[in-house]
């Protein structure tokens, strides 16, 4: 298991290096660090001097290594607009996005597991057909349309739920601004989380269903029936555990992709997270902040996937032994 974990972590590091290289290439080609520092009204001579001082005339690789060294220490450059370190800006915006992703994932897990399994065990019932039909419709509606529909129904027409912002938040540990601890904050979370989960939820239901159906056809499940086990035991212990393995792998990737989907959701709901920050930074040509966002999201993505792989290793006994050797 240890060797297995080490291998995965090494892979993660390599992926991070590639992401940072891409990020740096963007910054190198499109960004203007001098402007970021001093603004437009500086003479060309002064600019050249600053460029030299900042090492901007050094070869690409030298600058990249410098960028990497700084990034490892949490320094992702200076945001031109906020006049503050980019990493600081991101850390302040991150909780909003992460809470949104967390709630959306919670919705996905809590709904897709029972629905997927039910429709695998009883594929012919009306409810299963409804779930399957609904999931096709669900996948094909774009996130922003779902969001607008939700706002129209629950905010405009019924006036039940707030349509924008995070509502009342509470500061935790001095830096984590959470909306999970107030009723108002939770109410604000409902619609954005549903909108964000709307794409992945149908995919997960279908994935769990198809995996589960395949497992239910397997010899070991047939054998479990032949042993006279109770249906619950066959479904939840024998079949579900094996269904979980491929679902974990795919789930990890999807979770990462969801972070990217937050850009849309946050924009529609004016959610003050990293996603809307990224859109703003693009509009303001705030290259440092853009790149910092990419690197940070890449980092979260890799982190989640590595953790998922390690969890997979814990669930799957075959991997455990492979690691032991």
């Amino acid at each position: 298991m240890f060797a297995f974990a080490m291998k995965r972590i090494l892979q993660a590091v390599i992926v991070m290096l590639i992401i940072s290289l891409i990020g740096f290439a963007i910054k190198h080609n499109f960004g203007d660090p001098v402007r970021d520092l001093v603004g437009q009204r500086v003479t060309p001579a002064e600019r050249a001097e600053i460029r030299e001082k900042l090492g901007l005339n050094d070869p690409f690789m030298v600058q990249y290594v410098r960028f990497l060294g700084a990034a490892v220490q949490g320094d992702l450059g200076q945001s031109y607009f906020f006049k503050r370190p980019a990493s600081e800006v991101i850390i302040r915006k991150a909780p909003a996005t992460l809470e949104l992703v967390f709630c959306a994932s919670l919705i996905i897990v809590l709904l897709s597991v029972p629905l997927g399994i039910y429709s695998a065990i009883r594929p012919k019932t009306l409810f299963s057909r409804f779930i399957m039909g609904g999931s096709i419709v669900g996948v094909s509606i774009p996130v922003f349309l779902t969001a607008i529909l939700l706002i129209y129904i629950f905010s405009v027409e019924l006036n039940w739920l707030p349509s924008f912002g995070r509502g009342k938040t509470v500061m935790l540990f001095g830096w984590w601004d959470t909306g999970l601890l107030t009723v108002d904050g939770l109410l604000h979370l409902i619609m954005p989380s549903i909108a964000l989960s709307s794409i992945m939820l149908p995919l997960f239901i279908r994935l769990i269903r198809s995996e589960m159906m395949e497992v239910l056809e397997s010899e070991y499940v047939k054998y479990a029936w032949a042993k006279g086990l109770k249906p619950r035991r066959v479904w939840w212990v024998h079949a579900f555990k094996n269904t979980l393995l491929p679902v974990i792998t795919v789930g990890g990737v999807q979770l990462g992709i969801m972070v990217a989907f937050t850009i849309l959701t946050e924009t529609v709901f004016q959610w003050q997270g990293m996603g809307s920050m990224f859109i703003e930074s693009v509009e303001r040509s705030d290259t440092s902040l853009m790149v910092a966002y990419l690197v940070f999201v890449g980092f979260v993505f890799v982190l989640v996937n590595t953790m998922v792989d390690i969890i997979y290793g814990l669930v799957n006994p075959t991997v455990r032994v492979a690691g032991r050797k």
Binding site: E219, Y220, Y223, G228, N242, V315, P317, V321
Partner: protein, 323 residues
Amino acid sequence: MEPLIQIKNLRVDFALRSGTVRALRDVTLTINKGERLGIVGESGAGKSVLGFSIINLISKPGRITGGQIIFKGEDIAKYSLEKMRTIRGDRISMIFQDPMMTLNPVLTIGTQMKETIHAHRNVSNREAEAICLEKLRKVYIPSPERRLTQYPHEFSGGMRQRIVIAISLLTSPSLIIADEPTTALDVTIQAEIMDLLLELCETENMGLILITHDLAVVSEVTQRIAVLYAGKVVEIGPTRQIIDTPQHPYTQGLIKALPQMAGGKRRLNQIPGMMPSLRDMPSGCPFQPRCTERIDKCIHEIPLLTPVEGGGQVACFVRQGGM
């Protein structure tokens, strides 16, 4: 001899989109207490379907559409799922063909053994464990205590089949149905597993239905043999009689296909022609299109099993005197 299970006119159909496959057609046979019965026949004859239909575990869309399976005076073919569950793995155990696929890869051997006991007996975890260890010793698994915490992939094929056999012993069943239990194994350990099965059936006084392609194996292990052809029993009788003086032309073909019984382990498909499709059967005797002794009656009427000399039964007009 006291009958353990009486199968009467059993029919199993697979309703497929392309038509109904009649996998078993009026199968009638009896297995007595403690008796070892072999079921032979070529691929697709319905051997596995017959084995699984006894515990009503035919894969979809297969269904018992007629007949009875009498066990302890009750027709278990009509049992509800929950009632059937109390028989499966308790009174009647199964051994599957491929031990690599039978055990659940993510559960330990101990879990997979104990759950079987808990499904049928009200015992503590400790008592269940004691039963597991006892049965693992019976199948000669060394240091069974350690084995309980291991996963299937930590065992070889032969060891896994021993574990499956141990699982089938857990509830001291009165019948074991073994569907080609050694086919998937290495040739060198096939005999070992077969001997073990035979030994356990004798010491525990369990009945055995042994489904196999291998006439050499059935002749060593079983007391009676039923020959299945296209979903019908065409001949049944004492093992020696079937091997030495087969009556039905199909059985004769099977025996002839074995060069010498001693070393012969050939597959049973060397009779000219093919088994008819179960979707549209020929009229009359299912074997008549391939039969060299066919008479007119064979094409028009379906022969029934009729007793012959020596205690067997055969479904063949020619052997019944041609009338």
